[in-house]
Structures are given as structure tokens and as C-alpha cells.
Amino acid sequence: MTGEVAVLGAGMHPWGKWGRGFVEYGVAAARAALADAGLEWRDVGSIVGADTVRGGYPGYVAGATFARALGWQGARVASVYAACASGAQAVAAARAQILAGLADVVLVVGADAAPKGFFRPAGGDRPDDPDWLRFRVLGATNPTYFGLYARRRMAVHGDTVEDFAQVKVKNSALGALNPYARYRKRVSADEVAASAVVADPLRLLDICATSDGGAALVLSSLEFARRRGVTEPVRIRAVSTVTPTYPNTVLDLPDIATDSAAAAEPATETFRASIARAAYEEAGVGPEDLSLAEVYDLSTALELQWYEDLGLCGEGEGAKLLREGATAPGGRIPVNMSGGLASFGEAVPAQAIAQVCELTWQLRGEAGDRQVEHARVGITANQGLFGHGSAVIAVR
């Protein structure tokens, strides 16, 4: 199939609160990915950095920052920002360069050193920024939006807080098997229930933490991979970067209100569902073809929402799918075999790249105790603030 690129290498820096700079995490991940690919940094024709947002310039010019740290060697460079979708857009930019013949080998890097506590907007009085406004006017943190979604699911679909806790139980058991995860301890439903409420009905252990971390990929043309003797590489077959369709009628971070449907009927599918559909259409596969999925579990309840948005089950059936064990190891469609954000925490520019690292290891059969047997097709799903879609489909 045309349009595919090879994943020659994947690498990560372990996630956690390490207290060091994002460049260190990114360089470590990049070196690991290069070593995995069996390539030298000098073999790389282009580097794409997923931007972190920190005061001062270096975070905003991640591509060149990583290139300088690895040693200037004249590679083409790009830096991309799309909030939580930054990593997927970095992969998209790299893929486009390879398919356009601009580069044979591209290094994609994302890394972050997250501040403690709630994510917050950049400083200063900025009433033209919706992200600033939701904090200033409403005090609406990210977890309050997750709480709204969770409560809505309970009211509409009958989900329970016990269902949500089981997502944490599942993901923490998988994180315990992943050497790159921040949290390596299994969590019980009782421990979730005993943790403090953050945003009703969600508790501390329902919500992902902020973390430091880094992830990197070495992508190449299929021809380059063949020349290197990699005859059956993991291939990226789709990268979905779509925007919502007007009117977007599900309240989205960081908005204070939805679009109005007074003048135009909303699409039959939600924004999140459209992200997955675009990926499926581009890849020529459907949910029934998947071996596994890595989804953006900012909260336990949100993971259930993704089951439906990815078409793993019907609307409102996410909790049922979980209860049946379909999304657990050995189930019909295991989800978040990496342990998910529940085990990693958020390192914004790295997480969409880290999801593709997990798919790569799974599709190669190198995921150790987390391995999904006979994995052939995997999807990642993610969503970037301000209307950035993010899904990647990889195959072997």
C-alpha cells in the first residue's frame, strides 16, 4: 500500500518526576530510538520535535533544541505544537516529508518536564485566550471537565464509579509490567475508592498525573528499510489530524460553551469518533481488524468513552465491554497494554509518540509480559486542546 512509512526505531526515557530538563529526556529517548533502529544520528536527514510549552524559547523550538543537543549535523528541522496532539502531528510531519521524498529517515522526538499540580495557562492577563478564561472566570481545571464527562456517562449510560475504578485496576496492573511507566504498582478498586475526590465523581486515582518523560521514533521510507535489510518493518498506515465539524456540541476543553446547533445540525458522530474514523478510512481497516488500542485515558471514565468512539462497542456499551474483560489482556481488544496515562502520567509532547512506541513493540512481539499475542494492527487515540485530532494506525 502506498502512503506507508516504516518504524525503524522506538525509544523512551522512563516517566516520573525526575526534576531534570526536558532536553535530557528527549535526547535519551532519541538515542534509544536510534540504537533500536541501528542508525547513527548522522544518518538522519530530518528531525521533528514536538513542542513543550515553557517560558523562554527552547521549549517552543524543540526540533532544533534536540538537534543541538545531539550535535548539529545539518538535518532538516521542524517543531510542532498541537497540545496533547503534538506528538501525532510530529509523526504526521515526518511521514509527509518521507512520502514527499524530502527525507529518507526522520527522527521524531517529544519530551516534557511537567510542573507539579494542575496544568495551568501561561502567565499574564490574556482575556483573548479561551484557556486563560476558563481558569480566570470559572476555575475550571482539566479534572473538572473529566468530572463533567464522567457524571454525564453515569446519567446517560448508567456507568458507575466502580466501573471507572476497574479501568484503573486494569491499567495499573499493566503499568506494573512496563519498565518505562511512572507507576509500577497494582491498584485495587478499594484503593481507588479510598482516594480523595478531585472533581466529583472522579477521585485522585481516576485521574492521570502530570509527569516528566520522553519518547522518540525513527521513521523511514519502506525502500530505505528494505535497503537496511528490514524486510517486514512495523508500518504506519494512517495519521489522523482532523479538526471537529461545526457545530461541535460536546463541551470540550478548554471551552466555556459548545457551538450552538441552532442553525446547523450537528454531525451524527462526535469529534472524538471522527478522529478514529479518519484514521480507519486512511488505513483501510476497521475496529474489527484491531489487535490492540492505546487510548488517551486522562481519566478512567474517558477510557470507556474512547471504546465507543473507536467503535470497539456501541454507544453506551463501554462499561459493559470492560466488565466482559474484552479490553483486558487476553480479551478481544486489549486497551492500554502500556498501562496508559494512568500509569505514565501526562508528558504532553511525548505521550502521542509514546503510544506509537508501545504499538511498535507490540507489533514486533517485543512487549514482554505485556505482549498481545499475534498483534497485527494497532490504533492510538488522543485529542489535542483547541480541536486537534490525533490517532495513528500501525500494522505489521
Binding site: 494542575f118 478564561l133 481558569f135 470559572l138 473538572t144 468530572g147 457524571r151 478531585v198 460553551a257 446547533a261
Partner: protein
């Protein structure tokens, strides 16, 4: 801070949005620059009051002190507030807001009716920062 987002006092308090004269799309927070409906050739945007009553789409609360730029007094113990997302039927829009002080998640249900009232976001020595808040009407049909 959010000039033109609401107006009036008491029973006359309303949120203010804008409406496109060409396609009738409604915008809140107000959109004064251009109509965002991709199927609309564009029209003048006129200010309109939004419905005062709506139904709870969902709700939650904030048990931990939010970071700046939310203004709180770090000297005082944190008092959680409730957030309500409210569906306005005529406008077919969902608007997030704080609940009036004293309303907790235990007082709410998805589908319950609430109305918009003026409230105080915070006050310092010089200024009282007004905002909108949602208050249950007691009707839960």
C-alpha cells in the same frame, strides 16, 4: 474582564451572546468578528440575550484550589465550588458556569432545571468582580 458577556440585575440578569443575521447561529462567549458556521457566507453579528433557564447537562466540583489565574485567598481554607454545564433549549447550546454558593453536587441531577443569576466571582479592596452563576429552580421534571 469579560465585557459584554452578561447584563442586567435581579430577574433581568441574562447572559449575552451574538447571533449571525445570515444563518442565525448563536455564539457564546460572544463572537463579534465573524460567523463561524462554515456553511454561512457571513452576516452581521447582533447581540442577543440568552435564555435565562436551562437544564443540567452535567455537573462536577473542584475539591482542590485551582491555580492562577483563578483568584483565591491562599490564607483561607479552600471551599469547593460546583460547576454546572447547562443546556439552553432555544439556543441549542451548552454553557458552563459556577453554581451559586451553597449548591453542592448532592443538590443536582442531570436534566434538572436551573436559572442564571448574577454572582460575585471575587472582590478586592477596589472592585467586585461580577459573574454569572447557575441556581436550581427546584423543578426537576
Amino acid at each position: 474582564m469579560v465585557a459584554g458577556w452578561f447584563a442586567g440585575d435581579g430577574d433581568d440578569f441574562t447572559l449575552l451572546g451574538t447571533r449571525c443575521s445570515a444563518c442565525a447561529s448563536v455564539f457564546f462567549p460572544r463572537e463579534d468578528g465573524w460567523c463561524r458556521n462554515p456553511g454561512c457566507a457571513g452576516g452581521d453579528l447582533a447581540e442577543i440575550p440568552l435564555s435565562r433557564r436551562g437544564r443540567v447537562w452535567s455537573y462536577t466540583d473542584s475539591r482542590y484550589r485551582p491555580p492562577s489565574p483563578y483568584v483565591t485567598d491562599p490564607e483561607l481554607p479552600w471551599e469547593p465550588y460546583t460547576l454546572i454545564a447547562v443546556e439552553l433549549a432555544a439556543e441549542r447550546i451548552v454553557v458552563l458556569g459556577q453554581a451559586v454558593p451553597g449548591v453542592t453536587v448532592a443538590d443536582l441531577a442531570v436534566g434538572a432545571e436551573v436559572e442564571v443569576v448574577a454572582g460575585v466571582l471575587h472582590e478586592d479592596g477596589e472592585t467586585v468582580w461580577t459573574t454569572w452563576q447557575w441556581r436550581p429552580t427546584g423543578v426537576t421534571a
